[in-house]
């Protein structure tokens, strides 16, 4: 029996992203859960199973960095790959400095995604 697939959780308020990413991640062989908000993820019960978090930066309510801070506070650190539609180049170094595995600027290629997720899962 193959080890159960690693769970990648996607938190993004953009519907396109929530629809497109899971199919791709499944193609990569991951299990996927999607959430439209940070609050929804925190309340979901998938925190413990999630091996990688694909996290949008700017969202209504709790933002991506807010959720990162919250998980840190709960001592439930999850490797985080930020995804953002912003174009500010100074964003990535700051997020990486704060402990993110990667910061992907939308739109990103499937290879960039796979590498980032794998990096998060410590597979490369």
């Amino acid at each position: 029996m193959i080890a159960s697939k690693s769970l990648v959780s996607v938190v993004d308020d953009d519907q396109s992203v929530r629809e497109a990413l899971p199919d791709m991640l499944r193609q990569f062989g991951f299990a996927v859960q999607v959430f439209s908000s940070a609050e929804g993820f925190l309340a979901s019960g998938y925190i413990g199973q999630t091996r990688c978090l694909l996290l949008d930066v700017a969202m209504p309510g709790m933002s991506g960095p807010d959720l990162q801070e919250e998980l840190r506070r709960r001592r439930q650190p999850i490797p985080i790959v930020f995804i953002t539609a912003d174009t500010d180049a100074t964003l990535r170094p700051r997020l990486m400095e704060d402990g993110a595995v990667e910061c992907l600027f939308k739109p990103f290629s499937h290879t960039a995604l796979r590498e980032a997720v794998r990096a998060a899962l410590g597979q490369n």
Binding site: D13, D14, S16, V17, E19, A20, L21, D23, M24, Q27, S37, V57, A58, M59, P60, G61, S63, G64, P65, D66, E69, I83, T84, A85, D86, T87, D88, T90, L91, R94, F105, K106, P107, F108, S109, H110, L113
Partner: protein, 811 residues
């Protein structure tokens, strides 16, 4: 024979005697002696003298001597004393007794008693005398005229009046003393009476001895003989000057007051007043002066009989004692009488020589009073001879001044009223304003002509609510009825509504209504109604222009949004690429997952369209402008914006209330951008209430101090509000709940506020609606680079923890 004769003589029923030519009696019959109580011897010779009344003796003897001298029979009357001492009148008749030679050697006399006749005569004489005294004492002229109408006699009063000796008067033509104006009518009537014998009753002026004419009523009555022929005409003349003067005065008063009542020009009224004075007080010239608005100088009123040079030298004189009698009368408020200008000492410098040069010799100036303490002007009466007003003159003057006061005051207030009415009418015409009144108790509505024109109804059509409602724009019917309900409260109000005319045109009416009480104490509205259609139409054009400008301004703020826009474009792009990648993977799989691939392609197409939409909107918005920094009072900025948006808000029937905090710290930023934010919030709030008709569409704009000297501005509406699901997306760049809107407003606003280092958030109200607020610090950090800040700074620049939050609180 002698004896017999003597007996006969004694028996005669008379007192008989004979006397010698020298008057000595030699015979007196027995009856004589019996009557007088004298004996024959006592009475003989001159003894009979004792029986004659001493007053009559001389006359009697004179007649006797004349009779003796002429030798003719004589007759005289004298009183004879009776034996008891009573004197009675007798006629003494004598005749000569002739001797053979025809000489009168002796005279025979007979005395017959005439006492009764004498007494009757005396009575007649006394009565005639008394009658004459009465006639002469009559306070009227009495004339006797012959049946042919010729003057025969007159009483003393009449003779004194005409002052012409009797004979001269008789020689004059009968109409000589009649005023020429009255002569034809009087002579016609008099001629008629003479011809017919009918009574005559006329009024005419007759010339008095002093050269003045006076009015008389002349009554002519014929005195007829027994056979009916006219023996004499009695003409009685009564002076009716007072009545005539009163009539003239009354007629003049009536004329003047009619002129006042019919609104004749003041100049004509004053001319008529002067004419009245001259008609009433004969021989004088009248002028009226008024005073100017400051009561400082004399103003011309009227002077129909005075030369222009005289008038011009009075007009403009200051109201002082020295200026002249009229100025003095006005100044002192008292009559100034100068009875003889040749002896006058006042006004010697100027007025007096001028008046004398015009031939005037006396002047009476009487002030015309108005309400207590005020003088309207003065009436002056001039004569070309010295003259002091009589009591009668004063009575006339008093009455004329009274009329003048009424006439001038009415004319002046009429003129003022006319001016103010004309002014009002012109103002109403210029401002397209009409007036209406409404009695709340009866619902009775009265319109001015202007309102009829606005509503395009025939003037005079009875105004009813139903009639009005046929014109009220259907969209405004609800608020119009609200206004009607509000009238019951009796408060003043301002209302604006539209009319939909039969031709489809829309009119905008602006109503300012004031509540009051009519004379019965009932609630009554008086309202000014203005047709503001042209203004509103230009405002609509302005609003269009303004929304264009607002769009441009929005676009100019877009620089601040580059990141946000890129974000919006990148989202669908990201979806497209991910889906396409996934599709490739699915098709490359063995077997290919065609169903999955089809789904990813569907999503790709959708995201592609979404991206295209974003681009299309961007094209419409794209332009750029630098931000300008300044320090400002946020309340003042808000007030400007509210003023700017007021017409738009009112058009949506939105009421704005401010609650501005005092002593707010000033803020630094781009005024236009901040105004744009406030405008956005206001218009959003207004739009959010567009469907609300069951409660007031009210916006409350507040400014207050936040922590750290930040200033907060909130816009609270009573609209539909928003649910938590919407709250998530309110600030998304292209999110909108409005079908026609761009939805860029809140997103732009958030960016602008963020560039001011502030934040913008929204919360649903406890009641209906929502409150959008922003808070900005007093002075942004790094303000040095502020010129480009709005363009380059992104919300994430310095404080990601906060700036990334949409700050939509989900209470």
């Amino acid at each position: 024979m002698e004896h017999d004769l003597s007996r006969v003589v004694d028996a005669l029923p008379g007192l008989v005697w004979t006397a010698l030519p020298d008057g000595r009696t030699d015979y007196l019959n027995q009856r004589w002696c019996d009557y007088t109580g004298l004996t024959l011897s006592q009475a003989c010779d001159f003894g009979w003298y004792a029986a004659i009344h001493p007053d009559d003796l001389e006359g009697l003897l004179a007649t006797w001597r004349a009779s003796v001298a002429s030798g003719q029979p004589g007759e005289a009357e004298a009183r004879l004393r009776r034996h008891d001492g009573v004197c009675r009148w007798f006629r003494f008749s004598t005749a000569p007794l002739l001797d053979a030679d025809g000489r009168a050697t002796k005279w025979v006399g007979i005395n017959t008693e005439i006492e009764d006749r004498k007494q009757a005569e005396e009575q007649l004489r006394v009565s005639e005398h008394r009658f004459r005294s009465i006639i002469d004492g009559l306070p009227a002229n009495l004339m006797l005229m012959t049946p042919e109408g010729v003057f025969a006699d007159g009483n003393r009063q009449m003779m004194e009046y005409f002052g012409t000796p009797f004979e001269e008067l008789r020689a004059l033509p009968v109409d000589a003393k009649i005023h020429p104006d009255d002569r034809p009518e009087l002579m016609r009537r008099w001629g008629h009476s003479i011809a017919t014998g009918e009574d005559c009753d006329t009024e005419a002026r007759f010339l008095r001895a002093d050269g003045e004419y006076h009015w008389f009523r002349t009554l002519g009555v014929p005195l007829r003989e027994d056979d009916g022929r006219i023996a004499m005409w009695h003409l009685l003349q009564m002076n009716i000057d007072d009545r005539k003067q009163a009539e003239v005065l009354l007629a003049g008063e009536k004329l003047v007051l009619e002129m006042v009542a019919t609104g004749q020009p003041m100049a004509g009224i004053l001319d008529a007043l002067c004419g009245l004075v001259e008609d009433t007080i004969s021989g004088g010239y009248c002028s009226i002066v008024l005073i100017d608005a400051h009561a400082a100088r004399l103003k011309h009123g009227a002077a129909p009989s005075l030369p222009k040079s005289f008038i011009t030298s009075i007009v403009g004189r200051p109201v002082t004692v020295e200026s002249g009698p009229c100025a003095m009368a006005v100044h002192d408020g008292r009559q100034v009488i100068a009875p003889d200008l040749s002896k006058e000492a006042r006004w010697a410098d100027d007025w007096l020589p001028m008046a004398m040069a015009h031939g005037l010799r006396s002047c009476w100036s009487i002030p015309i009073p108005a309400c207590p303490g005020r003088v309207l002007g003065a009436i002056a009466i001039y004569y070309d001879q010295p003259k002091t007003p009589t009591a009668a003159d004063q009575a006339v003057i008093e009455q004329i001044v009274h009329i003048a006061s009424i006439a001038i005051e009415r004319a002046q207030s009429d003129a003022a009223l006319k001016r103010s009415e004309a002014f009002l009418a012109e103002t109403r015409r210029l401002s397209s304003t009409g007036g209406l009144s409404k009695r709340m108790s009866t619902g009775e509505i009265t319109w001015s002509d202007e309102i009829y024109r606005m509503f395009e109804f025939e003037p005079g059509v009875p105004v009813t609510l139903d009639l009005i409602m046929t014109r009220v724009h259907p969209d405004d019917a609800f608020t119009f009825k609200d206004m009607l309900d509000a009238q019951q409260l009796g408060n003043d109000y301002i209302h604006e509504y539209r009319l939909l005319m039969p031709d489809g045109a829309t009119k905008y009416l602006y109503v300012v209504a004031s509540a009051g009480r009519d004379q019965d104490g009932e609630l009554e509205y008086i309202a000014a109604v203005q047709d503001v259609t042209p203004r509103r139409l230009s405002e609509e054009a302005l609003t269009k222009a303004r929304s264009e400008l607002a769009r441009v301004a929005r676009v100019s703020s877009l620089g601040a949004l580059t990141a946000s826009i890129a974000h919006e474009v990148n989202q669908p792009l990201s979806g497209i690429i991910t889906n396409a990648d996934t599709c490739m993977m699915m098709l490359d799989a063995d077997p290919p997952d065609v169903r999955g691939a089809r789904e990813t392609v569907r999503r790709t197409i959708r995201d592609g369209n979404r991206a295209a939409e974003v681009i299309a909107r961007l094209r419409a918005l794209f332009t750029n402008k630098d931000a300008q920094l300044e320090t400002m009072d946020l309340s003042a900025v808000a007030r400007e914006v509210i003023a700017l948006a007021m017409s738009e808000l009112q058009r949506n029937h939105v009421v704005v209330r401010y609650e501005f905090a005092n002593d707010l710290p000033s803020v630094t930023g781009d005024r236009v951008q901040l105004q744009q934010v406030i405008l956005n919030l206001l218009l959003n709030a207004s739009d959010a209430m567009s469907g609300i008709d069951d409660r007031p569409r009210q916006i409350v704009v507040r400014t207050e101090r936040d922590a750290g000297d930040a200033v907060r501005l909130s816009v609270e509406d009573a609209g539909a509000g928003f649910g938590p699901d919407v709250a998530d997306r309110l600030f998304d760049a292209f999110y909108t709940t409005k079908t026609g809107g761009m939805g860029i407003g809140l997103s732009v606003s958030r960016s602008i506020i963020a560039s001011h280092r502030g934040r913008l958030w929204a919360i649903p109200n406890d009641g209906p609606g929502a409150t959008f607020s922003f808070s900005i610090p007093p002075r942004p950090k790094g303000a040095v680079d502020a010129g480009r800040q709005g363009v380059t700074a992104t919300p994430a620049a310095s404080d990601p923890g906060r700036s990334f939050s949409n700050s939509v609180s989900k209470r």
